[in-house]
């Protein structure tokens, strides 16, 4: 990785590359300076005169009727100015899921619980006070009388015949029951050389952005408008939703995402608290701030990945995967999120289960199951960490049964290079990638053959060492068609860019994607810079402000580089065309003979025949009387982009060691060979890969949101919910392949979730490989030391018996 120097003002990016292009270079991120100097502005850093503070009263019970709420003592608490319950919310609307399917039960998420609470941590009342401490004092003094009910706190409990209903509308607790494909798979199973059957389980995890959720709401009385600062990935979606809840005209609400301290999907859905903070500000006539604390984030924030797969797979004698029959259930908690709904996990899982591997017949049922646990959001990876685990483990088990090498069985099943565009058994079309090459390179980087030799020696010495792989396709940058096929009633697919040059020839790109650690201000500027022949240091990227950006959908689902980058490029091309037209007039040349280079409009092949962009920009804005009549004043260009989606691919490989005394898993090496098409900024790509891998390792070995059988949260702080540190996360070696996408304007494919998708399966197959000779199967995550020790203990007699 190379990094170019920044000028003292931190804005310029050093000399241009030899070919004059900025795409493909690891230039320094312009976002760095503010965070390195403490001058960033996250929501809690914002101050306002007269600011009031909000604290929520949250249900301690996972399932209960609310008999009474007594707010008298809270109102009498020093500093407290208002206490609001559901009865004080007037005609505000609840949050509703945006999905119209016959197999879906839409359930509303109330802003504050009125009659029933459905998970511990559900907001029941809110207290506004002069200080955060006084607000919490007041919240402690709200007396809520609950009549406890029996909670269903797991998939098994929720699907039991006599289970209590979380929602009356869904008596069996199934909120979505989708048959994705319904092939007759039985002939494949009857003729199979190997049939693998297994149940896979992945634990509930949560995103833990280092900045929790936070809002500051204020009413601008001068303009009669509301402003909501919120730590979100999706400011325009928040505006549409919150304006709808408060029945405000959208133009009277401005939503701003200032610096956002990570999101990972937890902040790509609309939170009740976002609307409630604005309601609180309206109630007290003052700016109001709410900053989620870590306990709230861990107990009341959106969670995910809590899934079970009952799967059968049929293989022929060559180890080729023929058919999969899958029953997928996802514990989606108490409510649907807005807008993506609780259907997002089962629908994604069922649609992509074969993933990067070929097959012919497919049958899948995907269910979203309500429980008395916090609702899910599309946490990084959305079901792909699970389906990659499922498919990799199926292949690993089949290899063992058929006495094939685990890498060889993968190679035989991966989509071959001559099969593109490849139609999957579940009906997706995968565009060209480097599936087999990525696997081969990963195996070579690890020194696979030598590792197998070493493993034999280690086993003979009684040591446990394993090699794991995960090969996957990552669907990214998908547009409105994909969401419409899912039957969403809003389709968050396209993106629009405004690219404008000012009279001094500086450029501003305004876009609805909303970066929060992805360095979009840098990478989108690189894309525009190449089209405009400008240093990216002269290009500002504006995001995260609904007043300043075109309507757009925000940053999630690995979409921003493909969709936002594509629209940025198209708009920059339009601006470049305008600049050439004006330049042609000034140079008395034909526009088609011109190009933009080094901040100038130059006549191709005619050295010295050129005009500076400053002169063009000045003419277009300040001296329009010199423009021909058919050229409008100004230098603005707009473009939208709504692509069908494009698949990046990667193979992860790992070597792990197990300590039989402690059950600890140590990762000795971790290699990623990834192909995200054209890289805009390799340093940013590698940062996304490494961060994603860390979150995937976390889900494989450390993290799990635990609720007791009665629904009480057990992991309420970071001593119980184990986010790994630098001690647990290994160095990740990365190799890049580059298969440009034909479906994105830049050739880039998205890659923000791949690390998280591959790592759980890679670690699980490595641990499974380490203990395969002991008859231990690794079919559930997280693989905790406690579980491993028990499994090793249980395997010992068998081992003795076998010896």
């Amino acid at each position: 990785m190379s990094a170019d120097g920044a000028s003292p003002d931190g804005r310029a990016h050093g000399a241009g590359a030899d070919d004059g292009r900025w795409v493909g270079r690891s230039i320094r991120a312009v976002e760095h300076r503010r965070h390195l100097t403490g001058t960033g502005a996250f929501v809690d850093d914002l101050q306002r005169p007269g600011l009031r503070h909000l604290a929520f009263v949250r249900s301690p019970h996972p399932a209960a009727r609310i008999a009474d709420i007594d707010t008298d003592e809270a109102r009498a608490t020093p500093g407290v100015e208002a206490v609001l319950t559901a009865h004080d919310l007037g005609d505000t609307a609840p949050l509703i899921p945006a999905l119209a399917r016959d197999d879906f039960v839409p359930v509303e998420m109330p802003l504050l619980a009125r009659d029933r609470v459905r998970h511990a941590g559900e907001p029941v009342a809110m207290v506004v006070a002069a200080t955060p401490h006084a607000a919490e004092d007041g919240a402690e003094r709200v007396r809520v009388t609950y009549e406890e009910e029996t909670a269903v706190a797991s998939l098994e409990a929720a699907l039991a015949d006599d289970a209590p209903a979380v929602h009356d509308e869904a008596p069996g607790n199934v909120l979505l029951d989708a048959r994705h494909a319904d092939d007759d798979v039985e002939p494949d199973f009857e003729g199979a050389a190997a049939v693998v059957e297994a149940t896979f389980r992945t634990g509930r995890v949560t995103a833990v952005p280092m900045e929790g959720r936070a809002c500051l709401a204020e009413w601008d009385r001068r303009e009669d408008r509301a402003i909501l600062y919120t730590s979100t990935q999706v400011p325009h979606i928040v505006r549409t939703a919150v304006a709808g809840i408060l029945k405000l005209p959208e133009r009277r609400l401005r939503v701003i995402a200032p610096d956002v301290g990570g999101g990972f999907g937890q902040k790509c859905v609309v939170a009740r608290e976002e609307a409630l903070t604005l309601i609180a500000a309206r109630a007290v006539g003052r700016p109001v701030k709410w900053v989620e604390d870590r306990q709230e984030n861990l107990t009341a924030g959106f969670q995910g990945h809590d899934q079970r797969y009952d799967v059968r797979a049929a293989f022929d004698e060559q180890g080729r995967l023929l058919a999969i029959d899958a029953d997928i259930v996802c514990d989606v908690g108490a409510y649907s999120n807005h807008p993506f709904t609780c259907g997002v996990e089962p629908l994604m899982a069922a649609a992509e289960l074969f993933n990067a591997y070929r097959g012919s017949r497919y049958r899948a049922r995907g269910r979203a199951v309500a429980t008395h646990r916090p609702p899910m959001a599309p946490y990084r990876g959305v079901s792909r960490p699970q389906i990659v685990l499922v498919v990799e483990r199926l292949l690993q088990k089949a290899a063992r049964e058929l006495d094939l090498d685990p890498v060889e069985i993968r190679r035989r099943n991966l989509i071959p290079d001559d099969a593109f565009p490849y139609a999957t058994p579940s009906g997706l079309t995968i565009d060209p990638g480097s599936y087999r090459e990525a696997l081969d390179r990963c195996a070579a980087a690890l020194g696979y053959e030598a590792l197998r030799e070493r493993q034999r020696a280690e086993r003979e010495a009684g040591r446990l060492m394993g090699i794991g792989f995960a090969c996957f396709a990552e669907r990214t940058g998908y547009g409105s068609q994909v969401f419409s096929q899912r039957k969403m009633t809003m389709t968050p697919g396209y993106e629009t860019a405004w690219v404008r040059m000012d009279p001094s020839a500086g450029v501003t790109v305004a876009i609805g994607t909303s970066g929060h650690g992805q360095q979009h201000r840098t990478t989108l500027a690189q894309i525009a810079a190449d089209e405009l022949g400008l240093d990216p240091g002269r290009i500002e990227v504006i995001q995260g402000d609904t007043d300043a950006t075109p309507y757009g959908w925000g940053t999630f689902a690995s979409r921003s580089t493909v969709v936002g980058g594509g629209s940025t490029k198209l708009a920059a091309i339009r601006l470049a065309e305008r600049l050439k037209r004006i330049g042609a007039h000034m140079l008395e040349a034909a526009p088609e003979d011109l190009e933009l280079r080094g901040g100038r409009v130059v006549v191709r092949g005619a050295p010295g025949h050129e005009v500076a962009l400053e002169d063009v920009a000045r003419l277009a804005h300040l001296e329009v009387h010199r423009l021909p009549e058919d050229i409008e004043p100004g230098l603005d260009a707009h473009a939208s982009f709504d692509p069908p989606g494009t698949f990046s691919n990667a193979t992860h490989g790992a070597v792990v060691r197990l300590d039989p005394e402690t059950g600890a898993v140590t990762i000795e090496r971790y290699v990623v060979v990834e192909d995200c098409g054209v890289m805009i900024n390799p340093a940013v790509v590698e940062g996304q890969v490494r961060g994603g891998v860390a979150q995937g390792i976390a889900a494989a070995l450390y993290e799990e949101v635990v609720h007791a059988d009665d629904g009480q949260p057990q992991t309420t702080n970071l001593m119980d919910y184990l986010v790994p540190t630098a001690r647990e996360i290994p160095a990740v070696e990365i190799e890049h392949l580059e298969t440009p996408s034909a479906f994105s304007e830049t050739g880039a494919k998205g890659m923000g979730e791949g690390g998280t998708m591959g790592a759980p399966a890679c670690i699980a197959t490595a641990v499974a490989d380490a203990v395969a000779h002991l008859g231990i199967e690794i079919d559930a995550l997280p693989i905790t030391p406690e579980w491993l020790l028990q499994a090793l203990e249980a395997a010992r007699p068998a081992q003795r018996g076998a010896a």
């Binding site: 960033g40 101050q47 610096d259 301290g261 001593m719 001690r727 996360i729």
Partner: protein
């Protein structure tokens, strides 16, 4: 209110005074009473380290110390690292090695690394990893952070 205490601290070399309630943490005082919002609060129970500042030179969780306990102490925060517009070597290294993404944990890591390199100017890779394992980052996977501290230690 009766439990307000007047404290004197020196923050990044500048003498400051604040009247603080006893229950306000040093993080509250720095951020909200004195305006040093570069110090972030990520967990309020001493695990994530986003609020790490130096108190009389020692890396300290500002969320686990009351403001009144900092009376008469010298505090260093992220705002004191750069020399005007000039980033210091550690800040430069974090940028060059892409040791930050969302930036929320960054001030805590910078202060932690500042203390490490003062105490041990030539740490081994293992010592860097050990020290940096005190704080949490959710974006980077830590590698860029470790490389940055290595580079700063090596004067690169």
């Amino acid at each position: 209110m009766s439990d307000v205490h007047l404290i004197r601290v020196v923050v990044n070399g500048e003498p400051r005074e604040a009247a603080v309630e006893a229950r306000r943490t040093l993080a509250d005082v720095l951020r909200h009473d004195l305006g040093y919002t570069g110090t972030h609060v990520g967990c309020e129970h001493g695990i994530c380290g986003a609020c790490t500042v130096l108190v009389d030179g020692a890396p300290t969780r500002a969320c686990l110390m009351f403001g009144v306990q900092a009376d008469d102490c010298e505090i260093e925060t992220v705002e004191g690292l750069a020399d005007g517009d000039e980033l210091n070597a550690l800040q430069e290294a974090f940028s060059a090695h892409h040791g930050l993404q969302c930036g929320f944990c960054t001030p805590g890591f910078l202060m932690l690394a500042t203390a490490l390199l003062r105490e041990n100017p030539s740490p081994s890779d293992a010592e860097i990893r050990d020290a940096m394992a005190s704080n949490l980052c959710r974006c980077t996977g830590y590698q860029g952070i470790l490389e940055a501290v290595r580079a700063a230690a090596d004067g690169r």
